[in-house]
């Protein structure tokens, strides 16, 4: 039986237990791929810690941390084929990085520089969406377009990320309902990190699981251990395959509920100690995806102390370089505010841009910029 055919109430899919012991079918990955997975997770963690620190030092604006979710982000994005697409929320810096979005761009975006929104052409990553769940119908539409353009066939799948809070929004239901009706090649990946800012999962829905909501849309839902990168990889791989090449009578979309925890705040603007107990955080930290995968790889003889130290060193360098690059980028040209509104500036926008240029010339930029 494929992972996806499990009853959503049938317990979570796991490959590794909390100590890194094998309790399920290990996905067929090469040694290099296993090491890459580990390195991506270490990189995402270190990037996250440094980003939070930059915000605390006033070197970056509000930032949504991802620590605790590296297994879900890296495990799922590594399952994507090169042509597949990912449609993120605002927290998938780790997944986007795996898909080729430079860390510098992510930093620039959260440093308030619009140029961080320019995703390189060769990265099939959609622009992050901040309003909750609103990217879900986009992902359905993108997958639907792929199917329509290919006369019903599809060579690409579209994974869409969102949190547990998003499942309460109308757009979640509308996006999944359209996907079911039009049988689009979508994987809906719910990062159930237990908290929608300060509101816990049990106040979000009375459903026993989030995965079971898929039943209402006529396709499969599966609950997996989101802190087990191998379970994530396995379930996502199966869902992507089905999206592109379903069996007779099978629906393409899948809802994956990856059960996990965010170790830090929702964003650097909130204080989680106000709404949750430290004991709860500790309990979940015991499930940390990174030591779990590391232990498994040590058991397999793929990693040892030297290799781990080497990876840690290279990860530190990579993040430091990205921060240097982002911080040494000169501020965006203020005139660029008037660009990218329309393909061609309207007369009024042109006029306002000219007025703005005149103001800068008269007063100098120092009259506008607050230190």
């Amino acid at each position: 039986m494929s992972t996806l055919e499990r009853d959503p109430g049938d317990g979570m899919v796991q490959v590794l237990d909390e100590e890194g012991g094998v309790v399920g079918d290990v996905p067929d990955l090469s040694e290099d791929e296993f090491v890459a997975m580990y390195r991506h997770m270490k990189l995402a963690r270190h990037f996250d810690e440094r980003a939070v620190s930059l915000q605390r030092q006033g070197r970056m604006g509000t930032y949504p941390p991802l620590s605790g979710q590296e297994g879900a982000q890296v495990g799922s994005s590594m399952a994507l084929a090169e042509d597949d697409w990912m449609v993120p929320s605002y927290r998938e810096h780790g997944a986007a990085m795996v898909r080729g979005l430079p860390l510098k761009e992510t930093l620039l975006y959260w440093m308030g520089d619009e140029r961080g929104s320019l995703i390189p052409e060769d990265a099939n990553v959609f622009t992050p969406a901040v309003p909750i769940a609103s990217q879900i119908p986009h992902a359905t539409g993108m997958a639907w377009a792929e199917k329509l353009k290919n006369g019903g066939d599809t060579e690409k799948a579209f994974i869409c990320y969102f949190g547990d809070g998003a499942t309460s929004e109308g757009d979640f239901h509308e996006g999944l309902n359209f996907a079911g009706v039009f049988d689009t090649p979508n994987v809906f990946f719910c990062n159930n990190n237990q908290w929608a800012i300060s509101v816990p999962r049990e106040k979000q829905t009375a459903s026993e699981t989030l995965a079971q909501k898929a039943v209402a849309y006529g396709f499969e839902g599966v609950q997996i251990d989101g802190m087990d990168p191998l379970a994530v990889y396995k379930a996502t791989t199966e869902a992507l395959e089905k999206a592109k090449d379903p069996e007779e009578g099978e629906r393409r979309p899948t809802l994956i509920e990856a059960v996990q925890y965010r170790f830090g705040a929702h964003t650097t603007a909130d204080d989680p100690s106000v709404y949750r107990e430290e004991g709860e955080v500790e309990k979940w930290k015991a499930k940390d995806p990174i030591p779990r995968l590391e232990q498994f790889l040590r058991n397999q003889g793929i990693l040892d102390d030297d290799r781990v130290a080497e990876i840690e060193e290279s990860v530190r360098e990579e993040v430091a370089d990205a921060i240097d690059a982002a911080e040494s980028t000169v501020r965006p040209d203020p005139d660029s505010m008037f660009e990218h509104v329309f393909a061609e500036q309207t007369p009024e926008i042109r006029r306002q841009a000219e007025e703005f240029a005149q103001l800068r010339e008269t007063h100098g930029d120092e009259a506008f910029v607050e230190e």
């Binding site: 320019l118 959609f126 119908p137 359905t140 993108m142 757009d171 309902n177 359209f178």
Partner: protein, 333 residues
């Protein structure tokens, strides 16, 4: 477009010209598709998509689930992937469940992605009152959309313009909100060329030349405005009527030029007065042509009340008599 195509014209109602625009553009461009509630087999509740389902099939004329955010949100995704969806919202009063998708995504995706993604989509919605419809079926809320940077908003008043503007909207690389005056969907017919042609977005047209007062209007209100202007000739008032056709971007140049000629203005729309486009036009005249101004700008608009149930809608909507009073006030000040 060839001259030959232009020699052949049809006499169509406005809603037929909308349908003709869709069929014409779908024929020319495989990426164009129509989607929405009841647009397929049923041909749309106003018949704006009649017959398209049989002509182009269910993959290009798509009956969707009843979900405005889903319709607009999936169209955003389709457009980002290079299709040219033309989603229909059955009545503009039902657009609000999809409002977040319109303002947060449809309007912003180009900016948010620094032009990596653009949305060549056209969101059609019939707007406005006067057809004895139930609650939430008669609103005129173009101000919402014109206030949102990144959207173009088109409101035609003739069958010829409706077709040409809709074709332009579909071909536009940016998202367009296309608001159709349902009051005049079938009120009259006009000559509409066969084949394709464009009426440029962002250009107003002078419907009637005049020297005493400029009247600015658009959409369904163009008719009572023209009627009032004609009636007033008997009283010796020669009104110029400018039909904006596109309310965003607004043709400020045409507005200001007309005003400089007459020095007097009356603005007519059926949307509520406060925060309505008449205020925007008035402010533009203040900024651009104050010294030409010989009278206060008169606004003839709907009232600042929820659109009334239909027993009272005739009192709410500006008609030729109210418009004539407004024009006279501006002309005789």
């Amino acid at each position: 477009m060839s001259t030959q195509e232009h020699e052949a014209t049809q006499n169509l109602t406005l809603v037929q010209s909308v349908r003709d625009a869709l069929a014409t553009e779908m024929e020319l461009d495989d990426d164009v598709l129509v989607m929405g509630e009841d647009v397929g087999k049923n041909g749309g509740v106003f018949r704006a998509t009649e017959g398209l389902y049989d002509e182009f099939g269910e993959d290009r004329v798509i009956d969707t689930p009843l979900a405005e955010s889903g319709i607009i949100g999936t169209a955003v995704g389709m457009a980002a992937m290079g299709l040219k969806p033309v989603p229909e919202i059955q009545f503009s009063g039902f657009a609000y469940p999809g409002f977040d998708q319109i303002v947060s995504h449809m309007a912003r995706l180009r900016t948010r992605s620094r032009s990596r993604y653009t949305l060549p989509m056209t969101l059609r919605m019939p707007y406005g009152g006067g057809i004895r419809a139930p609650e939430h079926h008669s609103e005129s809320k173009e101000a919402f959309y014109t206030h949102e940077a990144g959207l173009k908003v088109v409101m035609p008043s003739t069958p010829y313009d409706a077709k040409g503007l809709l074709i332009s909207a579909i071909r536009d690389p940016d998202p367009v909100v296309f608001m159709e005056p349902k009051l005049i969907y079938r009120a009259f017919r006009g000559d509409v060329p066969e084949g394709d042609y464009e009426v440029p977005i962002g250009e107003a047209v002078t419907r009637r030349e005049g020297s005493d007062v400029s009247v600015f209007t658009y959409g369904a209100m163009t008719r009572p405005t023209m009627e009032a202007a004609e009636e007033l000739t008997e009283e010796g008032i020669d009104a110029e009527v400018v039909d904006l056709r596109t309310v965003s971007p607004m043709d400020r140049e045409a507005i200001v030029e007309s005003f400089k000629k007459t020095g007097r203005a009356c603005v007519v729309h059926e949307a509520p007065k406060t925060g309505g486009l008449a205020g925007e036009i008035t402010a533009t005249l203040q900024e651009e042509a104050l010294l030409y101004q010989e009278a206060p700008v008169k606004r003839v608009t709907g009232y600042d009340v929820p659109y009334p149930l239909y027993a009272l809608e005739d009192y709410y909507l500006p008609n030729a008599a109210r418009v004539a009073d407004g024009i006279k006030e501006a002309a005789e000040f």
